[in-house]
């Protein structure tokens, strides 16, 4: 069956990605161990997180070998969540301000 042919990848690729995931996990752990703080910390956490997530989805979940139709159908809907998250950050900020004012009296 064609599907079988399509899914034969060299094992070496998996091993490389595997190794890379280990390295990235170690680096994100080091962010905490070396006690980076504030924006540098958040930037590094997000960077390593996105790299790891991208590798898992692209290689382990075979997304990079899928056709564009599937990629779009799977990756576009979560954009709705980004709007939700963005608005909830604003909402949480507002709640915090209201609480600070109220409790500060």
């Amino acid at each position: 069956m064609e599907h079988v042919e399509a899914q034969q990848h060299p094992i070496g690729l998996y091993l490389k990605v595997w190794l890379l995931l280990f390295v990235l996990s170690t680096m994100s752990y080091m962010v905490d161990y070396l006690e980076f703080q504030s924006y540098l910390r958040w930037f590094l956490i997000l960077l390593f997180m996105i790299l790891k997530a991208g590798l898992i989805v692209a290689v382990f979940m075979h997304m990079s070998w899928e056709r564009l139709a599937l990629k779009c159908a799977i990756l576009l809907p979560p954009l709705a969540l980004l709007i939700f998250i963005g608005l909830m950050t604003m909402e949480a900020d507002f709640t915090f301000i209201v609480r600070s004012i109220f409790f500060g009296q």
Partner: protein, 582 residues
């Protein structure tokens, strides 16, 4: 590897025993009927509840068994059952299950076993919900939106176990809807028959398909809200619970945010409106086109309207929360998105009307319901524009104007389509026609009664009559005469409710004694009317799947022999019928 030919070649395993054929059935048609009957049964409970509520409002104090707690329980259960357990279940589980495989030309859903599990999980969720009527304290009376903190505080009816059963039942329902929904979406995407492209799908399939996608993406939010509220109720956490003094006692809750629940709930709740509305849009398009013997006006734009409504529905949720105390800047954003979503919706209404324009209109019962839907939906939609604007919403919020609005737009309108759809497809489901006279009586009582109920309600809202009140005596700002309207509404509601029993009688009678329908009584083009057997047998299509040559709306094609050309009829020579396709 194409999977459709593979499916076609599989031998059919027709279930032999009564149990596997009608009870533990994996056939999408039987599951559809199971879903529909369960939804109708639970809907009847909610109908009786609305009677009791109206009796209390129309004749306050005359019924000693309706005390304030009971009244709130009636309000809550009526809303919850109607929105989730009736409308969502009947559109996705009932119509979706029956129509999708037949309309796309598949033998069944892609995973019939999961489909069967979906029904049983749904039935379990209904049973859990019904069980809450029999526990101490009764069902929850928190309002169908279940807003904390009051939903789980002592003093609210059903705060002991009613609310817990409610949340558990919702979680079960979400599991059921997910299992079913995965099937519907995968079937539409991956199991269409030869020649059936996405742009040849009937709009019913498009509406149900998009609504199912919304269900798969929106129900997670309700799931999360439900789990978090269960944590608050059972484990004493404080996600949604601020420090509260309840009945003179300081509770242990601290630091939670009730508005967070409202955001999570409405992130589900607004798409839910379209989960109910989009299938109705689709089904109405098909009914209007078939019974006006005219192709649907602007098919492509109808499809894109459905898609864009689906997408936009995820960024309008907080228009339900203008008075909640959320970030005040949100009003601007959500008012704009709410008004934008009116554009594709209005396009759909124009297209329905333009489809009727100069059509060969047959005023059959399904057509009556479809046209009635266009009318009620327009009224309900326009009042929605009022409420979508912050400044107008503020005084109207929590009045009967809101009640009238959402009953028009997502109560009455989808229910009219459910009726229209049942009158339309009943001949295919049972092989017999529904009785026309009874259908006419049912329609006119329901349609006129609806306006009698909800038109006056808008006025009550304008004079400021608040919703969710047990009784309205002694409020200075409500004139005495408002009570006359309330009595009028109550009597109308009783009559509309009674009319539904005519419909049930018609269903039962016609299923056995109705006029035999033949395979295609409406002369419709779509695939479900072209099955070799009526009602369709297991596997739907016999040995070979149908081959589709044209779109679903070849009605009154100039030069054609008949006034309709079925989707699976091959183009004959220079037959121009195929020209409009792709």
């Amino acid at each position: 590897m194409a999977h459709v030919p593979y499916q076609e070649a599989l031998p059919l395993h027709e279930p032999k025993s009564f149990w596997t054929r009608y009870v533990w059935s994996q056939d999408h048609k039987v599951i559809a009927i199971q879903y529909t009957l369960t939804a109708v049964a639970v809907g009847l409970v909610a109908l009786v509840m609305s009677w009791l509520m109206r009796l209390q409002i129309g004749f306050p104090g005359s019924f000693s068994f309706i005390d304030p707690s009971t009244y709130y329980q009636l309000v809550t259960m009526h809303g919850m059952i109607m929105v989730i357990y009736l409308l969502t279940a009947i559109f996705l589980g009932g119509f979706g299950n029956f129509l999708i495989p037949l309309m796309v030309g598949a033998r069944d859903m892609v995973f019939p076993f999961v489909n069967m599990l979906s029904y049983w999980a749904y039935l379990l969720s209904v049973l859990v919900l019904m069980a809450s009527f029999f526990v101490p304290g009764g069902p929850t009376g928190a309002g169908w939106t279940l807003y904390p903190p009051q939903a789980i505080l002592p003093g609210t009816p059903g705060s002991d176990s009613g609310i817990v059963l409610m949340l558990v039942s919702l979680i079960l329902f979400i599991v059921a809807a997910t299992m079913g929904g995965l099937n519907y979406v995968t079937t539409v995407i991956q199991a269409r028959t030869y020649g059936m492209t996405m742009m040849r799908l009937p709009l019913s399939v498009w509406g149900i398909f998009m609504a199912t996608i919304l269900a798969l993406l929106a129900f997670p939010a309700l799931f999360v809200g439900g789990v978090m509220m269960l944590f608050d109720r059972l484990l004493g956490s404080s996600f949604f619970m601020p420090a509260v003094v309840s009945m003179g006692k300081m509770l242990d809750y601290q630091g939670g945010s009730p508005v967070l629940f409202q955001h999570i709930f409405w992130f589900f709740g607004h798409p839910e409106v379209y989960i109910v509305a989009l299938p109705a849009f689709g089904i109405v398009s098909d009914i209007i086109s078939t019974h006006a013997r005219k192709n649907i006006f602007g098919y492509r734009i109808m499809v894109w309207a459905i898609v864009s409504i689906g997408v936009l529905s995820f960024i309008v949720w907080a228009h339900h929360m203008y008075v909640s105390g959320m970030n005040p800047y949100f009003g601007f954003f959500f008012a704009i998105t709410t008004l934008i979503i009116a554009v594709p919706t209005a396009i759909k209404v124009y297209n329905w009307v333009l489809t009727l324009w100069q059509g060969n209109i047959h005023m059959t019962v399904p057509m009556l319901f479809a046209v009635a839907f266009v009318s009620t939906f327009t009224i309900g939609g326009i009042t929605g524009l009022f409420l979508g604007n912050v400044v107008i919403d503020l005084p109207l919020s929590d009045t009967y104007f809101v009640v009238a609005h959402f009953h028009m737009v997502m109560g009455v309108s989808p229910i009219l389509v459910v009726f229209g759809g049942i009158y339309h497809w009943f001949p295919k489901i049972t092989g017999r026609m529904l009785n026309d006279t009874l259908g006419q009586i049912h329609f006119w009582l329901t349609f006129l009664g609806t306006y009698a109920i909800y038109f006056p309600m808008h006025y009550l809202g304008f004079i400021g009559m608040p919703r969710r009140y047990y009784a309205y005596e002694g409020y200075q700002f409500i004139p005495e005469s408002a009570q006359d309207l309330n009595v009028f509404i109550t009597i109308s509601a009783l009559m509309v409710g009674a009319a539904q029993f005519i419909f049930l009688y018609n269903l039962a009678w016609s299923a056995f004694k109705g006029k035999p329908a033949g395979s295609n009584p409406w002369n419709a083009t779509t695939l479900e009317w072209q099955t070799p057997d009526t009602p369709p047998s297991h596997g739907n299509w016999g040995d070979r799947l149908p081959i589709v040559y044209r779109w679903a709306y070849d009605y009154s094609v100039p030069g054609a022999e008949k006034d309709f050309i079925p989707q699976n009829q091959p183009p004959a020579g220079e037959n121009p019928g195929g020209a409009a396709t792709t």
